[in-house]
Amino acid sequence: MRLGDRAFVLERRPTLPGLYGLVTAGVAILLALALASLLFLPGEADPASAYRIVFTYAFTNPYGLVATIHRAIYLLLCTFAFLVPLRAGLWNIGLPGQVYAGALAAFGVPFLLRAHAATAPSLAPGLVVVLMVLAATAAGAGCAGLAGVLRARFQVNEILVTMMLNSALFWLVADFIKEGGALMSATAEGESFVLPPFLQPPTAFGVPFTALIALLAAFGLDVLFARTALGFRIRAFGWSPPAARYAGIDPVRLPLLVFVVGGAFAGLAGYHYFGAVPGLYKIPSNYGYYGDLSFYGIICALIARGTALGAVPVALLFAGLSLGGRFAQGALHLPFGVDYAMLGLLMMTFVVSHVLYDFRLGERLAPRPPVPEVSAERP
């Protein structure tokens, strides 16, 4: 763009100060909230009152706050599932599929041990819960590992494979919980059996042990990436796979590893939301809704710029927004999907903030227009 003798161009920043990341993430979130206020216009309250309902329910209402924490744990685990492969430059968008795989495996354990009825199992209940957690993480890891193997061995696009697995696993869950499926409830069509009380994990202040795992993982992942040789190898692979190969980094094992670790987190997220959250303890008929919520993990990881600890407050905020948004939707008689619309707006503002982060408006001296030729002939 030209203004007088100055020209303005969009150019990449030569250096990226750390503070900029924080500022642009904040701008992205605030911009999304400003745009999302338009969603409340058809409701019975002005946007300020609508946001008051959202935040009051999500962060001060005793029921809402516990629900926000449950959802934040879920989103955080999904964030890690996306973040670990992302640090290696790979996209794991198979979060819903891996969540479904984890949930199916977790509920498969008591079913196979015949511990899903109200009678006491042959194994100690605590051991069954541990087996459920292990099965869920293994199933999520296996599911993501398939995408990792195909990517590592054959260079198959991981976005396509993980997306295909999302759809395939969505239907496999339906097969297990509908029309006489193995995990179907004896009393309700379209949902799984409810875990008996002795398989419901203990909670502290209504929060299950998965919260501790998620927080420890946040700390552990940042240490892994910043302080260990493996973390450096993962980052090096993400920066430049050919350079990483010259440096001796195995181009097959590393993509496989990051997908397996990422998938394990998503599988654990599946156990957490369906097997450890009070009031649920089953795979409900609207499991697809919970699966699609996992996409918030993508935004959390992107906005947190790949830092696991940075993702903790972002996940908490997004959990509150999505839950509060759903609550406000009912309270203000809004159309379904306020929480999903917020997800979309956050993604859009993230992409804009990405530009703000990487680019700046540069100012140049505009080239002078060519001097018109003067005729040599004198009048």
């Binding site: 969009l10 969603l39 996209w91 968008i93 398939l146 195909l150 054959f154 260079q155 198959v156 696009n157 976005i159 396509l160 494979v161 997306m163 295909m164 697995l165 999302n166 759809s167 395939a168 696993l169 969505f170 239907w171 496999l172 339906a174 097969d175 509908k178 029309e179 499926g181 697809g288 699609d292 996409f295 993508i298 935004i299 992107l302 159309p335 379904f336 999907g337 306020v338 999903y340 619309a341 917020m342 997800l343 979309g344 707006l345 993604m347 859009m348 993230f350 992409v351 990405h354 530009v355 990487d358 680019f359």
Partner: protein, 291 residues
């Protein structure tokens, strides 16, 4: 059985339109992984427009326009800003997924208009799809414009040196690809399955994206692939026609997605990769920086 074939042709056409646009996109070196989002947006707004105005042409026009506009947005991020094409594509997909859920929800249910009349018993869009394949093949491989598109996708620096405006060509292709993805979404909601519901595509856009890789960027192979996937999709909805009582209907619904993975793995084997490697646009996914 004839009904199955007719429905398969209709499903194939939805895949074909989206994949053909993406093929042109990718031939110019731009990867748009967000075509599912463009289809969702195009399909949803086309559905709302057609239902509120009672006009199919207007619905398709809106689908076309919305797709082109989102293609333009993708072009801005990937061509002008030279950003990561995957980030931009994923952004468009999640944006569309989130917003269409909200916008389309009040319109959940059937379209409520008389079906688009068939031509000689077949949906007119099937003919249009074949014409488009011929046109795209002709333009890409028999005209100077096609040579410019392919050279921009193979070696943008060389194309630039020979006087081709790389950014202009890429913008045109990405807008064309977006418009076809929008029309494909409109085909789904106005013709193939004229009912709006939450996340109605459930992976059709990603299957279309897979089809482009499968086709080795050749419009004729793309046509064959679309027919194969369209038929497979319809069979997964009515498996009792070929293998009655073998698996539950839910498992059958998962089959097209699992087969897509198998095909993607198959075309990545050494034999296939030699040819795939030759066909793949060399500069695919790489922003062009004038050096």
């Amino acid at each position: 059985m004839p009904e199955l074939l007719l429905r398969s042709l209709e499903a194939s056409t939805v895949f074909l339109f989206a994949a053909l646009g993406e093929l042109v996109d990718q031939r110019a070196g731009v990867l748009n992984v967000g075509i599912e989002g463009l289809m969702l947006f195009g399909g949803t707004l086309a559905f709302i427009t057609a239902q509120t105005t009672g006009s199919y042409p207007l619905g398709f026009l809106v689908g076309f326009g919305v797709g082109a506009l989102l293609g333009l947005v993708h072009g801005f991020f990937s061509v002008t800003l030279r950003g990561d094409q995957v980030v931009s594509g994923m952004g468009l997909w999640i944006l569309s997924f989130g917003l269409t859920t909200y916008i389309g929800n009040p319109y959940t249910g059937p379209l409520g208009l008389p079906r688009i009349p068939a031509l000689l018993g077949i949906s007119p869009f099937v003919y249009l799809g074949v014409v488009l394949v011929v046109a795209v093949w002709f333009v890409l491989f028999r005209t100077g414009t096609g040579l410019a598109i392919r050279s921009v996708g193979e070696n943008p620096a060389a194309a630039d040196a020979s006087g081709i405006d790389v950014a202009r060509v890429r913008y045109l292709c990405v807008v064309f690809g977006g418009a076809l993805a929008g029309v494909s979404g409109a085909l789904y909601t106005l013709s193939y399955n004229p009912v709006w519901n939450y996340n109605f595509l459930m992976g059709w856009g990603f299957v279309s994206l897979a089809l482009v890789f499968f086709s080795m960027w050749n419009p004729w192979i793309l046509l064959a692939g679309s027919l194969l996937f369209g038929t497979m999709w319809q069979l997964s909805l009515a498996p009792e026609l070929v293998l009655p009582g073998l698996l539950s209907r839910y498992v059958w619904r998962a089959v097209p997605f699992l087969v897509t993975i198998l095909i993607l793995a198959g075309i990545s084997t050494a034999w296939f990769r030699t040819r795939w490697g030759l066909a793949k646009p060399e500069a695919l996914g790489r922003p062009y920086v004038k050096g």
